[in-house]
Symmetry: C2
Subunit: 98 residues, 2 copies
């Protein structure tokens, strides 16, 4: 068992703006205007999609090396549909990705 | 059903550096040196923790308003343990958060 421990700290700033910190790195997260934010950064859904895509990139790069697979470029395009009904008390559903 | 669709695009740059884009926003992701990266940004695990924390902040803020709960500050500290055994072919486990 090789365990790496990672941490993040998030702090609510003004309205829906959240500062997210991990070690020396910080990012501002917000919601787009259609979700009543001020849109100064990615929203949490975009961030989770970004982290999944980045993880796949890094894993692909490691395995490409291991199995000697050549490539010119590596991209991931990733999409998530967020159902806001539960959040708005309009339905009996959990927030989901599809 | 109120569905919002979010997208992200990730592009492998040099070594483990990944550029992550969502709409007009871009972040550089990397692995720390102990995971053989060059450590120029958060890694994907930190990013997913950050997105979970940011999501909680925004939800808490919305519900605090709705239920008229006053607060001075809102923070989340979030930690994830990554078991790398499966990635390194050293064990019969899936990559997990605990």
């Amino acid at each position: 068992m090789v365990v790496s421990v990672f941490k993040a700290k998030t702090t609510l700033q003004k309205q829906m703006v959240v500062e997210v910190q991990a070690r020396q790195y910080a990012i501002k997260i917000d919601e787009p205007k259609e979700l009543v934010g001020t849109d100064i950064g990615m929203n949490p859904v975009e961030l989770v999609l970004a982290s999944l895509g980045a993880c796949q990139m890094i894993a692909a790069q490691v395995y490409a090396k291991k199995f000697k697979v050549a490539y010119d470029e590596l991209h991931v395009e990733i999409e998530g549909d967020l159902d806001l009904d539960d959040f708005s008390d309009k339905g009996d559903v959990r927030l989901v990705f599809t």
